[in-house]
Symmetry: T
């Protein structure tokens, strides 16, 4: 089983900035954590980060045939990109939407997601652990068929 | 560590009704699944279901001193009960909001939660597995302190 | 054929209060009127009133297997209870929504019903006669299959 | 007692079109059904259908002196015609608003009626039977004075 | 100078209905009053009433070449007819919008006019005298060029 | 009969500014025009202008006993002053709301009046002639009793 | 193949009025242009114009059996007539919505169409050429089956 | 004179929770304070608290004949319960709405009360003293008749 | 202890106007009532009324150093003056917002206060007694420190 | 004459994905179809597709001097990109907005276009044929000058 | 060159109140700072402050002929006074809107300005330096003609 | 001191396009103007322009350590990019938002900025001079510490 983790804009800054909100783990730390978990679950992992909407769109387009599912932390693009939504509609690879922080405890512009209704499910608010839980959830769902 | 699972109205019907949406597992099946997972995590579990808002309010009031955290599937009361919110504000026991279905893929009245901003995090859309993931997430968070 | 009549909060006060709006008939008077009509239609009748949302939810849950259909005058809960809606969604027993008064001629908060789209049909504005008409309509519908 | 039945635009197509929604009864079939019921109730019936707002306005204007009450299925004009409302305000003949389908289970533009607050009551969702129930309701109300 | 007075739906009922609101003058009484005033002002008058939107549209279309200006009491169509607006845009004959009652002291649906921004001016609230004032205003404006 | 004309902020600038919109007549020119008309109608006239909300409130307060009615061109305060509304509610002297320009052909913030529903009627869009028409209308209404 | 062209209110004024917006072609000129194009496409054409909503409703009702498809320029009724929508729902003849002008570059009230979601497609903004393009599009679609 | 004090959900937690907001007084402390004040005012006091909407509805229903007036701190139900409103409409016992905190300085969902327009008056923001002031106000009003 | 009572526009008319709403007490009567109450509470009282927003702003500016607290009945300015809010923000003298009538039982424009969130608390609906209760409440709060 | 066809995000997936909605033609198939049509019309064609907003902005910037007009299928960016709008405002090359599907029959977020008011016209709903019709329309318009 | 600086309500309190927000500079300190800057720029300066809307309106009215431009810090009146807007429309003296604080980082009621669209430009957020920058900007613009 | 100037989409077109709105200065001209001003202020300047949201996000990410502050003219992205906001939140380098035109005098979609509340201050409406004023303001603020 192959799962792709897609990270959106500004996630490359994790760990260095606003640690009181996002914690001290860098995106590389999180990648390590998730790869460990993937190994236990016998999941092959692909990892991707971009600050460009177009690049995220194309990464989603290339999921089909290359991955059985995806974890998507689209960051700010969660709330503004209809193009990301269209790409997800097109490939129809099952995915889990995830967020490090509890987006419902932040400003109103972050309460509405343009992709949540397309996801298998949502995991939000558990910091780096959100990635691990999302991976477990998706792997379980894919294995259950 | 002691965690209380609070289930709101109509969840007592699980498994018998609308299986194409909610699956065939009964609430008792889910309780067994979660108790198994709790044992592995060395978590003591308390299980509660009610169709009455007042009873859910009082169950939340009694969390303090009796539980280190809670899993809350308030069902329809998620979207209409300010009294449940007030009880959660009062006891300030950490809790995870969970839903069997992906509430964002359902009708608009179910997109807004009156308690989500108070939760540690949210897990939604994975059927009975939502309970297990929420339990793992909360136990991890409580142990990390 | 067995039909259950479900009455929500404050309907136990009928006849004693605000007679210029709701008329002088008590809920017992209405029950007699409906039982007479049921006898003529060879319908077995069950009658229920509660001021508690949770009790109404449970009465609806118990419809299945015990009734072929229901008349629902949920009173104020018509406009505020998503839990009542969920119970109706779960049992899927055909029901008619009824109101003594013309709710569209009252304040705006009473113009929107959370259950109307689930009903077979709506009867409103004819005082106690609303119950009789709703019973005829439902019996006719059930007999027509 | 004389009651006028007023039918608005597109009701002349009943039975031929969209039978899965509106049933197979033509407007003529419904007229026969209602005339039978009127005979039983000793009510003299006048029947009218038009696709023109102005013609419906004038039919309402002519109610006074010619009818003791009216059944009104204004169809699409229910939701768009303030002129129909003004005519009803002017003649002040008691009327019942009726619909074949449950308008609350259809698209939002059909949830708001411009005349419902002026009606004695509303009957909706019972197909041709809506006419018969509305006739009974109105006749009963008129006889009760 | 030739001025056309255009009256919309339900104004043919004036005097007979709701005299506490609209007064006891019939539309014929008002026509006499306005014709007297027109004679004093040396204005030739054309008088028209219809309950049909299409007929009002065509009466407006025919203004050009036949009238120097118009008084328009579109009644309920003031608030619902974009076709009446389009006709007024097309002929561009100067007109005054008038109302018998103070529409701003009535229900909100009557506060917004679809034609007011196209009018030379508005006169509302003075009963039959609204017609006379509007005639004076329009005649004065037309003479001033 | 005594009628008071109340003019709000910035009307003292008439004639000097934006003549393409408001015309070349100064407020003094308009006062002369209205005084001529008042003489013909045997009406005693009082004339007032202020740029201060509080002063307009007090001028309205002093109407009672000193005037049989008022013409009110509250200018910008028409749309923002609840205190002017309260003063009009308190004295209950009949008044006509008037505007030089057609406020409905201007920006949306000028479409809603806080006092229109309290007025006998409204005259708008005829330039200085609006004052004369409003005076005629009010005098007629007061004489008719 | 037989296609009916349905034109709504005020289109009979084309060419004579507001030529800077709608051009100098009359509706007769456009009809000639479309008939030429129809001949080339071997399409039999029926042409209809009305200023009356009811007449447009009935013209749509009569499409079935008489036409394989329709071009609809409902003009102002595009934005206000639910009865036109109901007629289109009833006959379910494929149709193309067309407009001479770019309705999105005009006032907001013209941005929302009550029938666009029922159309095969939309053509707007190309003046008389909009009719020709719409005819080509519909003929192509009908031939493709 | 007999006055009933009705307390809604979560008020049983007073003093133990969030003392920085609600103060350190328990509901029992407040009851003592109010009973002292009642004695001075020669008012007989009945005291009630519930976390259940249905129980509050029934307590209000039972006011008639048993109390001359009521103090109502409905807490969260102030903002969500139409059934509480209906009960107050039915018994029509004069009541004062009271709140410990200044609800207007809290989140927007607490700014709108479903019962305030039915109250004699409102007292909010003075902590336990709100009860004493409300009692004085109601007693004064009842004695003044 | 020194408390200043600030009264806004139109309160100088009390007693003479709309006695069915505001009662027969004049503002001078109320002042006497409050002065009596102040004496009992050993509070020194300053009394102020104005119809001018700017004058109320300046009276609030001068509170600091001259008063320990204020009672504010800003009347219509409660709902429209951001400048009054800014003055209250600047001086930060504790104040109680008060109203003679129950503003929530009046028109919607009077339901929102621009200063309520800055107040210690609110008292509304008890006529002149609102002033006395507000004085007691504020004195109690100031003495409690 | 030289016309540039600009295609936005996800259009590179055409034909492979969701064929029940978008048909089986690939973007290359459509390009061939349009090139054939261009040859007949003696139009020189430039073809461009990108998934990146910035790249589309720059393609629009480069239109001037290189093309006489453009066909724009901005896909999801139609509804979210103000930068695309600004580029179109800057170059002022005439363009036609086109869509494969009828965007008005899809979800509401696709009903509003940020560029439609700048276009010569709109063509939507005819699948690949939308491109051909748009090309004909634009070529006709450009030749007419 | 002569420039007038107009300051609205509560700015006379600067320096004494809320120094953490507005800084410790008094309005007199700011005036000195601006006069220094004006001397360098060879600009003659007039300085004005008022707490009264009417007085600000009149100060604006008197700009014409007495000043080449204005700096306007209307404070709270920025958001509530249509009369200030009307005065600015009337005199059409170029002005710069300025604010000490960044109004977009404050409460929503301060995000919308009723005069910003009439200004040459806006400067906000730089404390007393906002005045100096606004003066430079306006002087530069006036000299550039 | 080092300040970075960040320019968003379409600003590379300055001077060539819509000179009546944006003036004839090219972005290179403006850069020269700002560099002159920077030299006088002893500020080291970095200059950047991009049409790509992702590139602007990364330029902001790289501010930290490389610049003491920034001037941001995000153009259309000001109103649509939450990713730009997130980048600014992450680096927390002080910045000034600037616009060439007065965005409040343009269409409503340009009135709301997604970054204004994070800025030190805003300068808008002074053409190229906006850059110079913003530079002075930021340099002054940074030097004041």
């Amino acid at each position: 089983m192959r799962i792709c983790v897609l990270n959106g804009p500004n996630l490359n800054l994790l760990g260095q900035r606003e640690p009181e909100i996002y914690g001290r783990a860098t995106l590389a730390d999180i990648e390590r954590l998730v790869r460990d978990s993937a190994r236990e679950l016998s999941v092959e992992l692909e990892w991707f980060q971009t600050n460009h909407e177009g690049a995220l769109v194309e990464a989603i387009q290339q999921l089909e045939g290359r991955a059985d599912g995806a974890l998507l932390n689209a960051a700010a693009l969660t709330h503004t990109s209809l193009a990301v939504r269209d790409a997800l509609l097109a490939v129809q690879v099952p995915f889990v939407e995830l967020h490090l922080s509890n987006i419902f405890a932040r400003e109103p512009a972050r309460h509405h997601s343009l992709v949540a209704d397309l996801a298998v499910g949502i995991v939000a608010g558990f910091g780096p652990q959100s990635y691990v839980l999302a991976l477990q959830a998706l792997a379980g769902r894919l294995r259950a068929g």
